[in-house]
């Protein structure tokens, strides 16, 4: 899968240039969208790390994402004390993550005395307090309700991803300010470079989390999810493990937020700290597979693909521009009911309303595919290899 993602920008460019280019452009997400899939996918993974593996629904997880995004933007503007605007981006991400760890420890110490719905609610409460706070905090920018942007005066360059202080091992990310690369016969645009560099950070974070999940530590988390009392009876202290999982997950959520702040060069309270941001992570986790680490990334990919397919924007394709170009005008203008044309109907009921269809899909997943995309595939494979095979053999033996 990593290989497939590594080749994606080339495949996308090839397909768009091919005779079926417009179809490909309509169906496939743009590379720019994919960058968002990466960093938000990382956030969804970190959400899944604590919620899917310990069973404690962290409904205020957006606080860590927002912390990361705000930290990076403020640090780049020189508004974080003791931190120069020129601090390497990697170091900013690390510091943002550590700040989130501190916040997570404070919130977790109070919240993990509760469980079930109450846990979800108290974390939501903390996150909403933070959300309302940054929305009204005029230190952030003149108009805190709209968030803040990285100033081009203080921090004119893009954000470097790579090994700090070694120029040759760094590439800048960003839509406009990112580096471009010419290497042999390959040339990459700023967006494509961002795709690889953001993807690289996300991959490293994913591998780190993967390692933790498959360590004895991760096994204890699963034990807590399945039966907390028994885990305690066996001799583990659930509180410490839950708190540690929460802090680790907060760290990676802040890194994801920092990436989004660095790539977009701005932050807004409604797209970073609001409880619906956590909702989006939840959506991605459920569709992709709750309790599978890579699942949320696929969930987010699915979500974004549907959204872009039904988007209003003309660039990057979408259903409506495609139909406009390819259906004869008589079909588009045809009356359906009482003056409502086909084009009008698509405009009204499909375009920009991806939330409705994603919501329907989400509900169907909750009802009928509770394990999500990845979880179900794993179940199928596990079933065929581990369970079905002995059954088949048994049947033959009886004959």
């Amino acid at each position: 899968m990593v290989a497939a993602l590594a080749l994606y920008p080339f495949v996308y460019a090839l397909l768009v240039a091919s005779p079926l280019g417009t179809e490909a452009e309509t169906l496939l997400p743009r590379v720019d969208t994919m960058v968002g899939v990466f960093y938000f996918g990382l956030f969804a993974m970190s959400f899944d790390f604590v919620s899917g593996y310990t069973g404690y629904l962290s409904f205020g997880h957006a606080i860590f994402y927002g912390t990361g995004a705000y930290f990076v933007v403020l640090a780049a503007n020189g508004q974080v004390p003791l931190l120069a605007p020129g601090t390497p981006f990697m170091l900013m991400l690390l510091l943002a993550g550590l700040l989130a760890v501190a916040i997570a420890l404070a919130i977790g110490a109070l919240s993990f005395r509760l469980s079930g719905v109450y846990f979800a609610m108290i974390t939501l409460g903390f996150a909403q307090v933070a959300y309302v706070f940054v929305r009204g905090w005029d230190y952030v920018s003149e108009n805190p309700k709209d968030g803040a942007a990285v100033s081009t005066d203080v921090h004119p360059d893009g954000f470097d991803v790579g090994i700090p202080w070694i120029d040759a091992l760094n590439l800048e990310i960003g839509r406009l300010t990112g580096d471009t690369v010419e290497f042999l016969f390959v040339s990459l645009s700023g967006t494509e470079v961002s795709y690889y560099m953001v993807g690289l950070v996300v991959l490293v974070c994913y591998l780190a989390m993967q390692r933790l999940i498959h360590s004895p530590f991760g096994t204890v988390l699963l034990a807590i999810r399945e039966n907390e009392e028994r885990a305690e009876a066996v001799g583990y202290e659930p509180f410490q493990f839950k708190l540690a999982a929460f802090a680790i997950s907060g760290f990676f959520a802040a890194v994801a937020g920092g990436l989004s702040g660095g790539y977009g060069r701005s932050v807004a309270p409604d797209s970073s700290m609001y409880f619906l941001v956590t909702g989006d992570a939840l959506l991605a986790s459920i569709i992709g597979g709750f309790g599978t680490l890579a699942g949320p990334l696929y969930g987010r990919l699915f979500d974004e693909t549907v959204r872009e397919f039904l988007s209003k924007r003309g660039s990057g394709g979408g259903l409506l521009p495609y139909l406009r170009d390819h259906l004869p005008a008589s079909v588009i203008e045809a009356d359906l009911v009482g003056g409502l044309t086909v084009g009008g109907a698509i405009e009204t009921f499909l375009n920009g309303h991806a939330s409705l269809y994603v919501g329907v899909i989400f509900v169907l997943f909750v009802l009928y595919v509770p394990n999500g995309l990845l979880g179900t595939v794993r179940d199928r494979l596990g079933g065929t290899v581990a369970k079905q095979l002995p059954d088949y053999l048994d049947r033959y033996r009886r004959d």
Binding site: G55, L57, L110, S111, R113, L114, S115, G116, V117, Y118, A120, M121, I122, L124, G125, F126, Q128, V129, V132, F133, R135, G136, P144, K145, F275, L276, G279, L282, L283, I286, T348, F349, H353, S355, L356, V358, G359, V360, F362, V363, V366, L367, P370
Partner: protein, 337 residues
């Protein structure tokens, strides 16, 4: 910035706050908010107590109620309609909203939520969350289709308010907003009706028995599933009616964000009061409503920090959960402690 500048300002504001005129205004405001929160949250707490489902789509029912109520009013009321007729039409609209949102709620319970009772509670949160997305986006499509602004308040519906509710009354030197009075009266009547239903009717007894122990209730020969449906429908219907009240209120108005604006305070009220206790919810609604109104006043007059009231509401939630995790009137075992 410094203390010397702030302190006299603060003392001034304190003196201003304790004037009878200000106090009565804040109190009235707080009670009207409390009445609305109690209406919205009571459905939430009943549903949780009986079904064990924390309904994220509850705010969407309120939002739908606001739009539906607005629609009824816009259709019925013309510019020539008198004030009394408008109030009467409002009552008619209330019945329509109650029936329609109740039916919707019942359908949701039978069609969707019923399938999830034997799964972990997290799935019900997820399902209702998805349902809220669908309802909100569906409403957005319809609203946009008729050329209304989805984000700002629905003007036409606001315009159907009787004239005497639009202006403040001066009674014995105190400023009284008739709309707030109307909301308080309406809320008290609704909450009273639900309370009477729960404590004085046979069906209410069944509902309370079901909250206590649904298996035992079923063993006594009662069709618990039907009780579930009824309670879910009732809770949704009351939330819808609360939305209808909000439609006339210029502070809220019928708009799509209403779903979240009401859902979050309602959650706070339910948790602070203790999940599943009706009495706790009513008391907590009073508490949260008064805190909200007080902080709104301070924010408008003394402290320049936007969003202060909202922040206080969530601080109340967090503090309650730290000090008394089961809520004011909650029972330890409820909600997975």
């Amino acid at each position: 910035m410094t203390g010397t500048v702030l302190a006299p300002l603060f003392v001034d504001a304190l003196g201003e706050f304790f004037r009878p005129g200000t106090l009565s205004e804040v109190l009235l405001n707080g009670l009207s908010k409390a009445a609305l929160y109690a209406m919205i949250a009571s459905g939430l707490t009943l549903v949780f107590g009986l079904l064990g489902v924390l309904n994220f789509a509850h705010g969407s029912f309120t939002m739908l109620g606001a739009y539906l109520g607005g629609l009824v009013m816009v259709v019925l009321v013309g510019s020539a309609t008198g004030d009394l007729a408008r109030v009467l039409f409002f009552l008619v609209g209330t019945l329509v909203v109650f029936a329609a949102i109740g039916a919707l709620g019942g359908a949701v319970e039978v069609g969707l939520i019923r399938q999830l009772y034997d799964r972990p509670p997290i799935y019900q949160i997820l399902l209702t969350f998805g349902l809220a997305l669908v309802l909100d986006e569906g409403a957005r499509i319809v609203v946009a289709f008729y050329g209304l602004q989805p984000i700002t308040d629905w003007r036409d519906a606001l315009g159907t308010k009787p004239g005497f509710m639009a202006e403040n009354l001066e009674v014995a030197g105190l400023t009284v907003a008739p709309l707030a009075l109307f909301q308080i009266v309406f809320g008290v009547v609704t909450i009273g009706a639900v309370w009477l239903f729960l404590t004085r009717t046979r069906y209410g007894m069944v509902v309370r028995a079901g909250s206590e122990d649904d298996e035992m209730t079923a063993a006594l020969g009662i069709d618990v599933n039907r009780v579930f449906t009824t309670v879910f429908a009732l809770g949704s219907a009351v939330a819808g009616v609360a939305g209808m009240l909000l439609m006339w209120d210029p502070v809220w108005g019928a708009s799509l964000p209403l779903a979240h604006e009401t859902l979050l305070p309602a959650f706070v009220v339910v948790i602070v009061g203790g999940l599943g206790t009706f009495r706790g919810t009513v008391v907590a609604a009073g508490l949260v409503g008064l805190v909200d109104a007080t902080m709104t006043w301070w924010f408008q007059n003394a402290i320049t920090f936007t969003g202060l009231p909202e922040m206080m509401i969530f601080l109340v939630l967090v503090l309650t959960l730290i000090v008394r995790p089961q809520g004011l009137f909650g029972v330890e075992e409820v909600g997975g402690h």
